[in-house]
């Protein structure tokens, strides 16, 4: 059996590398991880995703 979460991540990664290579794969994976863990808790998911993007932007500045 394939690992379905890898299947989902794989699909997103294919789209990212093809259409949005400027987006770091770590950031995308981190967002997917947060969304996956907080499907039933939307506010928490949004907070985690926002924090991940902020961390990425901060890392760009330094």
């Amino acid at each position: 059996m394939t690992n379905p979460m890898t299947e989902l991540e794989g699909t997103v990664e294919r789209v990212r590398s093809k259409l949005f290579p400027e987006l770091p794969s770590d950031l995308v994976r981190s967002i997917l991880q947060s969304e996956s863990e907080c499907v039933e808790s939307r506010t928490e998911a949004m907070r985690l995703v926002g924090a991940a993007i902020q961390a990425f932007l901060d890392s760009q500045e330094t």
């Binding site: 997103v12 789209v15 259409l19 987006l23 995308v28 967002i31 499907v39 939307r42 995703v49």
Partner: protein
């Protein structure tokens, strides 16, 4: 990945005292045999209770907690019940305890309000706090997808709804399928990114407002964003209203479809009632016509006598006319005879009359005079002519044939009316207990709500167009800001661009993932289906947009209607395919799933169970699945066998199965 290790029930349903089932740690199948009313469904419910805190009946109604405790224990004064589940989730061991006990001070609880519930989740030696407990439980086996893990035969029948376009239940099942397949991970990411992108746009506008060089554009940008926010709120309101209306409309439509036959009967009855009104009108018209004709009908009875009279009168008139002619001729003859006597010569040849001829002439003149003495009765003649005219007027046209025709047609109408009335009676019998006004109300509500939805759609279209125009305007202002701007603005622009790219990434990925999933689910379901079905002419399963599966015959034609057994096989194939492709995985617990399957299919399903999930728990009765057959088919994959043994009607015991 969820894996069950042990379930302990205490005074739960028929399970009196503390009873336990251990599940072996290796993947495989565990069988629990039990005849009807021994507690198979209760065991399924115990697992459901542990995870969600409620129990459902077969009709899908929530059962009052006060009715769940063991009756014999309650009779002994022990109220309440408890379920403990020990499981691994993502490799971490947990122990979940949910118990229901009488509230303090209540000795004999009678309703759920008199019970208190405790839920405890241990991770190793630690008891998790409520927030952490709820977060983990929501991940372990989300309630929305429980139908793929805990189910019975009835639930398997519902998957046919996926083949019905616009079915409410089908839509709910589709949502559950996408949930188990992880689609919400992407759709939620997309929704979050849309929101964060909007925020970033706002932040960019505010940064522009703070800078002297870009303030004007910043103000304009902010005004456009504010305006768009207003329209988005309105769009959201309209969309929410539409969704609520659409749900009602769909529910009414489903109800109307169910009552379609009834509606057809009622329409037929209405048409029959209208026909009867038309028949009654025709009967009234025909009766009026008959009445009119009958006013003259008495004359028709006298027609023979009147005809005789007329004939006699006409004879008499002929006689009188002949006499009149005879008189005229005699009068002319007398004139000529008298002239000849007077002149003594023949009026024609002018020869003198001899005495003998003269005598003859005088004799003829006398006889003519005698004849002319009898006068023609002129008064009688006139009277006869007058009476004849009156009698002929009296003879009105004879409408006997028309009357006969009318009466026949009345008879036909009477028969037609009686037949229709009989059918109305029949329909009324069939619809005796139906609230007809309710159906009529449903129809009018359906039409009214449909019109309201159409109006909302126009509003939604208008708002969407305005939002698009505002978005384009915002984009143009952003382009101008991009050319200006300082460090602050550049930072916000990077945020906005990152969010926008992420939004577009997830938007694209949602479509691709869905397409990929559908194709994989179709492929895996087909593979499982071909293992499960005994029908060698079936080629594959074809998936639709809703994940509904249609059987395709080897000649390429879809099988339009399928039996309950085939429905089970297709549903089990879908279950297996979903398990293979789901990020969320867990045990499959099936309650009496073979009731509608013949032995051939049962054998194949049992053989394929290990392919459907790592852990399968089957609750069956022996006639449904013979233990020997299960052992032969499962062999090493059979990891445990239990039996629910009767102690009394209200007390079952869980025991390891022995022949």
């Amino acid at each position: 990945m969820l894996f069950l290790h042990r379930i302990t029930v205490e005074n739960f349903g028929p399970f009196k005292g503390i009873q336990t089932i251990d599940f072996p740690p290796e993947p495989g199948v565990v069988l629990i045999y039990g005849e009807n009313m021994r507690g198979k469904t209760t065991l399924l419910n115990a697992i459901r209770y542990a995870f969600y805190g409620y129990v459902r009946s077969r009709g899908d109604h929530e059962i009052d907690l006060a009715k769940i405790g063991n009756w014999e224990a309650a009779a002994e004064g022990v109220y309440g019940f408890r379920v403990v589940l020990e499981f691994d989730y993502k490799g971490t061991p947990y122990e979940l305890t949910r118990q229901c006990r009488p509230r303090p001070g209540i000795t004999t609880p009678v309703s759920s309000l008199e019970y208190a519930q405790d839920t405890l989740l241990r991770c190793g030696a630690d008891v998790l706090g409520p927030e952490q407990r709820d977060r983990i439980l929501a991940q372990v086996l989300p309630e929305k997808i429980s139908r793929f893990f805990l189910f019975d035969g009835e639930l398997l029948q519902q998957y046919e709804e996926l083949l019905r376009e616009e079915s409410n239940m089908g839509r709910q099942i589709k949502e559950s399928i996408e949930r188990i397949l992880g689609v919400p991970v992407l759709t939620n990411a997309r929704a979050d990114m849309r929101e964060l992108y909007r925020d970033a746009q706002g932040q960019e506008g505010k940064a522009a407002q703070r800078d002297q060089r870009t303030r004007e554009f910043g103000n304009h940008h902010q005004a456009l964003i504010d305006e768009r926010t207003c329209h988005e709120s309105e769009l959201l309101r309209l969309a929410g209203e539409r969704e609520a209306l659409y749900s009602r409309w769909k529910a009414i439509e489903d109800a109307l479809k169910k009552s379609e036959r009834l509606k057809a009967l009622l329409s037929e009855r209405d048409a029959l009632q209208n026909d009867i009104i038309v028949i009654d009108q025709k009967v009234t018209e025909k009766r009026a016509r008959i009445r009119d004709l009958m006013v003259e009908a008495w004359r028709w009875l006298l027609h023979p006598q009147v005809h005789d009279l007329i004939r006699a009168m006409e004879v008499r008139i002929e006689v009188l006319r002949a006499k009149e002619t005879e008189f005229a001729v005699a009068s002319e003859k007398l004139k000529a005879t008298d002239a000849a006597i007077d002149s003594g010569s023949c009026d024609s040849c002018k020869r003198p009359l001899d005495p003998e001829t003269l005598i003859t002439f005088r004799t003829r003149a006398d006889s003519l005079r005698a004849l002319l003495k009898e006068k023609v009765p002129a008064e009688e003649f006139t009277a006869l002519l007058h009476r004849l005219a009156t009698l002929k007027e009296f003879l009105a046209p004879d409408h006997t044939a028309v009357l006969k025709e009318l009466n026949l047609s009345l008879d036909d109408l009477r028969v037609e009316r009686a037949t229709k009335l009989d059918r109305i009676e029949e329909i009324q019998e069939q619809t005796r207990n139906i609230d007809e006004s309710e159906i009529r109300k449903l129809s009018s509500d359906h039409e009214r709500i449909g019109q309201e939805i159409a109006i909302l759609d126009q509003g939604i279209q208008g708002e969407t167009r305005i939002i698009q125009e505002l978005t384009d305007s915002i984009r143009r202002v952003q382009n101008q800001l991009d050319r200006l701007g300082g460090a602050d603005l550049a930072k916000e622009r990077r945020r906005r661009e990152t969010c926008e790219h992420l939004l577009n990434l997830f938007d694209q990925a949602v479509g691709e993932y869905r397409d990929r999933l559908r194709s994989k689910v179709e492929e895996d379901a087909t593979s499982l289906f071909l293992r499960l079905t005994t029908e060698s002419d079936y080629l594959k399963l074809k998936i639709n947009e809703n994940y509904g599966l249609t059987i395709i015959h080897k000649d390429g034609v879809a099988i339009p209607v399928r039996s309950a057994g085939a429905e089970h096989i297709v549903a089990l194939s879908l279950m297996g395919a979903l398990q293979r492709n789901a990020p969320l995985r867990g045990p499959i617990i099936m309650d009496s799933p073979f009731g509608r399957l013949d032995q051939g299919h049962t054998t194949r399903v049992v053989r394929s169970l290990p392919c459907m999930a790592d852990q399968v728990l089957l609750l069956v009765y022996e006639a449904e699945l013979e233990p020997r057959l299960a052992r032969n088919e499962l062999m090493a994959q059979l990891k445990g066998e239990y039996k629910l043994v009767r102690k009394s009607a209200r007390h079952s015991v869980i025991q390891p199965y022995t022949e």
